[in-house]
Symmetry: C2
Subunit: 368 residues, 2 copies
């Protein structure tokens, strides 16, 4: 898959841009705050109908303007396709494929596979378990629509059960029948989610470890361990057993909504023991594994966005990363950096075709 | 103030180290995960009796070991002083000054002023308001012990009032008298805290803006705005007025524990609008202002720790930062970086005396 052309109007600080891209590596260089990451974010937006950084769409419109528009031309398996995204203040966002509006946005998601690696991914490691569940759910949903449907159904049941628990204080016996209905549903949908998550992690883990070994030079051993209540006993049994406790707590304490993915570095939690460079290497390897995973499931290569990737890595790891980027595993790549000379040296080494763009106060110009 | 010598045993991945430091700039260079930041953290620990990164002391002991020891020799206003910190598993930590144990740890805090600037400070901007309150409270407490006492008293009153609110459901009238006692206390201690915070921010703001202008080259305008319930009406009045609401919520919705510090970039919240480099510049200027503030209040220069400072900054901002570091405002500085050549070039430009140390898998050796 290749993004051939993008046209932007009023996306964050980019008022207007028309850009042609290389099938190889496209580099965006500029000072802090110039708009490099905003450009990557616009490419992310056209894939996922949302920003990577800001969940509030209206804040993506350039200050003092009324709307933004993104138009993108892709080549997908030798076929040219046009995509259009627009948002006007206080209106619903609009998405079109080859000039035809989608009836549902969800029909678009998954068409343009993409992996973004950004310094903010550090939160995958440092933040709570919900970040890691979101990561799994996000990747699996990209190629499995029924998984996404299961997650949504599970969450609806959970909300209902929690509301019931909260309202039942003092008269708990009377709701036993109702709780049983929810328990049954949570257990059966939970089992589906558990199976899908286990399968995904089993498949992802060796690929993740392969990339990590490659970048770190086998100096560290990493592991991912999946913990779920589902592993201990039937979820329905556990829900029933914890009913009294849940009534006191006012929420459901068992189920796949409490799943945890444990990240280990040399046998210890990386969250507590990893340095900044080790943390970066860890989430990079995780995201590269996600790339390979999506590549295989879609049958064509996702777009790869690398935001500020070479900061914090020591020379050895940076060199290994360049070696990877130059290989056949990765196709079209977009990279931001503040230092042109460093980046130029890096992309030359990959042997791929490349283009440079200067980003300056929201203006993007190709560097000849 | 100058840290002349440090000796470490089993601090994180540093099993043993004996290091002599320059009065100027001390640089630690090594690969990812080598232990550079751990070394800075040990200097932080001897100042604050806690780690910058990990609140759980026992996790600072090197894996498989039973204890850690940090010994440091400082020159403070032409006087040599020795400090000792040690922790044995499952024991209380021990702190000594010139071989004499402190009766209370709080007697030590403030003796060795220090400012650490680390990529993790990004959370000052991206996280919730509690991070920013903690920042203010941390700085002010360093030179004002009565402020720290006020904060502790305020929090105790708040806990009591919240417990009362929670227990009072359904019989609210009966606790009016008790609530009044707490309201009075919260209002009077809250007023002290508010005054101290306002004064601090008023003093910090122009210094912060000065540093920001210098580093960013006046390309951006930044501001800090302090919001407190205290500004609207008497806190006692507000507590009384919101009593009904608080009883429903089960907690106290008004008071200085809800203070917010708003960070603006060109008139918009930097949290939503700042790039990574802009965010870094913002919190760097904030921390440098903190340095100047402490310098003035103590009458001698704090130690400055710079963890990974040059990453993400564009060349212009990095050059300006070097200019600052070379000036008279800053004294002893400790810097970590993965790239020796880059850092060597940087410190040469400052014109200060400097030393280089190689950090490799927890081993630290001076570079001759």
């Amino acid at each position: 898959m290749q993004l051939k052309h993008i046209s932007l109007l009023n996306y964050k600080n980019i008022r207007q841009a028309e850009l042609e891209f290389e099938p190889g590596i496209n580099c965006f260089v500029g000072n802090n705050g110039a708009g490099k990451t905003n450009l990557l974010d616009s490419i992310y937006y056209i894939s996922f109908c949302k920003s990577y950084f800001n969940p509030i769409d209206s804040q993506l419109i350039c200050h003092d303007e009324e709307f933004f528009v993104i138009q993108a031309q892709y080549e997908i398996q030798n076929q040219d396709e046009e995509f259009y995204a627009a948002l006007r203040k206080n209106r619903k966002k609009q998405f079109k494929r080859n000039k035809k509006e989608y009836s549902r946005l969800s029909d678009h998601i998954g068409l343009l596979p993409l992996v973004m690696i950004s310094p903010g991914d550090e939160r995958l490691i440092s933040d709570g378990s919900d970040q890691r569940r979101k990561f799994i759910d996000g990747v699996v949903s990209q190629y499995n629509k029924s998984y996404l449907a299961s997650i949504l159904r599970y969450n609806r049941c959970l909300t209902q059960r929690n509301a019931l628990l909260k309202s039942a204080k003092g008269r708990s016996a009377s709701i036993d029948g109702q709780l049983e209905v929810w328990d049954e549903q949570l257990a059966s949908i939970g089992a589906l989610i558990f199976d899908e998550r286990s399968g995904f992690i089993k498949e992802l883990k060796p690929v993740f470890q392969k990339y990590h070994r490659f970048i770190s030079g086998e100096s560290e051993v990493v592991d991912i361990v999946y913990h779920s209540h589902h592993q201990r006993a039937s979820l329905e049994e556990q829900l029933k057993k914890n009913r009294e406790r849940d009534l006191v707590l006012g929420y459901t304490s068992r189920g796949v909504h409490r799943d945890e993915l444990e990240f280990l570095l040399d046998g210890y939690p990386i969250k507590k023991n990893g340095s900044q460079g080790q943390t970066k290497t860890f989430f990079m390897a995780l995201k590269l594994a996600q790339y390979e995973f999506l590549n295989e499931h879609f049958g064509y290569a996702p777009v790869l966005l690398l935001d500020d990737m070479f900061d914090k890595l020591d020379d050895y790891r940076a060199a290994r990363l360049i070696e990877l980027m130059g290989g056949d595993s990765f196709h079209q790549i977009f990279i931001t950096d503040t230092q042109k000379s460093r980046l130029l040296e890096i992309v030359k080494k990959t042997g791929k075709t490349f283009s440079f763009f200067n980003v300056n106060d929201g203006n993007i110009t190709q560097d000849i």
